[in-house]
């Protein structure tokens, strides 16, 4: 899922400075799981903004609502009856959600309350780590389920480099060498021979932004529609 973290309060305060009516919109999916922008976090964040406003002697209204997802139009639709009442909308979704919200209500000022970090997993309570950088051409079959694009600091497809140091990475001694992990894993599952294969150069053009993808099934319907 998408992992994000909340921006410092003062940064958001600076964004909303001068506005009187503000709506904080939460997202109940990825950012709720990573405890950054779900219903609970929005409750806390809105309460903080209210208290800060009062302490600074401001007359402002901070309302809040958390929708199921901000990256799907049908859920954004639910806000239609509310948004007109506000000077600004603060979104606690990932960057994609903020943009879609801003696109749907394009006459409104929509502000981000989070910094979107990465696609990752929950390592433990409150700890997340990056596992995939969406390279659009997955090679995990060759690498024992460990992503060389993400875990290796140099994105090496044919590692390790000469800098691997007792299982640690030369770029950052705190981090594990991806290729040592890959070697150990392949050894464990008896597939070390795949390490001998030379991976062809990666097609980085696939990663050109912005990415766009249409599901096969829908391509056909579109073609039919056009006919």
């Amino acid at each position: 899922m998408i992992v994000a973290e909340r921006k410092p309060l003062e940064q958001v305060e600076a964004m909303i400075d001068g506005f009187e009516r503000i709506l904080v919109v939460g997202c109940g999916t990825c950012v709720a799981v990573c405890m950054a922008g779900g219903e609970k976090e929005v409750e806390l964040f809105a309460a903080e903004l209210r208290m800060k406003g009062k302490l600074d002697g401001k007359q402002r209204t901070i309302d809040e609502i958390t929708i199921t997802r901000q990256c799907d139009m049908e859920y954004l639709e639910q806000l239609a009856k509310y948004v007109d009442d506000y000077d600004a909308i603060v979104s606690t979704a990932c960057g994609a959600g903020v943009q879609f919200l801003a696109e749907r209500y394009d006459e409104k000022l929509v502000l981000p309350a989070l910094n979107t970090r990465f696609i990752g997993v929950a390592e433990g309570a409150g700890v997340w780590s990056q596992r995939c950088m969406a390279c659009s051409d997955c090679v995990l079959d060759q690498t024992g389920g460990i992503c060389p694009m993400t875990i290796c600091a140099k994105n090496l497809l044919n590692g390790p480099c000469g800098g691997t140091d007792h299982g640690k990475c030369e770029v950052d001694g705190e981090k594990d060498c991806a290729w040592t992990l890959i070697y150990r894993k392949l050894e464990k599952i008896g597939r070390l021979d795949t390490m001998r294969k030379i991976q062809p150069p990666k097609d980085y053009s696939l990663m050109t932004t912005p990415g766009k993808y249409t599901h096969e099934a829908f391509k056909e319907t579109q073609a039919e529609d056009e006919e």
Partner: protein
């Protein structure tokens, strides 16, 4: 008008979230022991301090409490194994939120008060009352009645109806899996 009436000493309002197994029982014991402690404390009995979350603590301050504390079992004694450990984390996290807003983090604290520690219960109550007296009233008290926003009602998500089936009848997955 007499001078004594003009200068009212500040009597803080202190909210104490006490777990039922330890701190609350210690409160009872403090009573049985006839210990005297600050009458400023309003005790809120909770099942476990692990239930306390940041918003609960923040709301107390938002509503004008001058000091808030959470009192739970000693380390290793939690009835739910680690509720008190979570509460320690929550309190530390909420202190940062208070500092962020501009309220003194010392207005909030966590205390370990075992069930057998009546005097410990009284000490916690006295300590937080003392702190609140030193820091003065919660500046938010002045604006408690000022409306500042609310949670808007969210409708439940609409699920699109099943499309008209051309061949046979389409059924929801839930219908498929329930044995009739």
């Amino acid at each position: 008008m007499s001078k004594d009436n003009a200068v009212q000493p500040f009597e803080p309002k202190v909210v104490a979230y006490c777990c039922t197994y330890c701190a609350y029982t210690a409160g009872d014991l403090a009573g049985s022991m006839r210990l005297e402690y600050a009458p400023n404390v309003r005790v809120v009995k909770i099942l476990c301090t692990g239930k306390v979350d940041a918003i609960l603590l923040l709301r107390a301050f938002e509503d004008g409490a001058d000091a808030v504390y959470v009192a739970g079992c000693a380390i290793g004694d939690c009835h739910f194994l680690e509720g008190n450990l979570r509460a320690i984390q929550t309190v530390a996290y909420t202190k940062k939120r208070l500092a962020e807003i501009g309220l003194e983090p010392e207005r909030l604290e966590f205390f370990h008060v075992p069930a057998s520690d009546g005097p410990g219960f009284a000490d916690a109550a006295n300590e937080m009352t003392r702190r609140a007296k030193t820091l003065g009233p919660n500046p938010l008290r002045k604006s408690i009645t000022q409306a500042a926003g609310r949670k808007l009602a969210k409708e439940s998500d609409e699920h699109p109806p099943l499309p008209e089936a051309v061949l046979g009848k389409l059924i929801h997955h839930s219908e498929r899996t329930t044995v009739g």
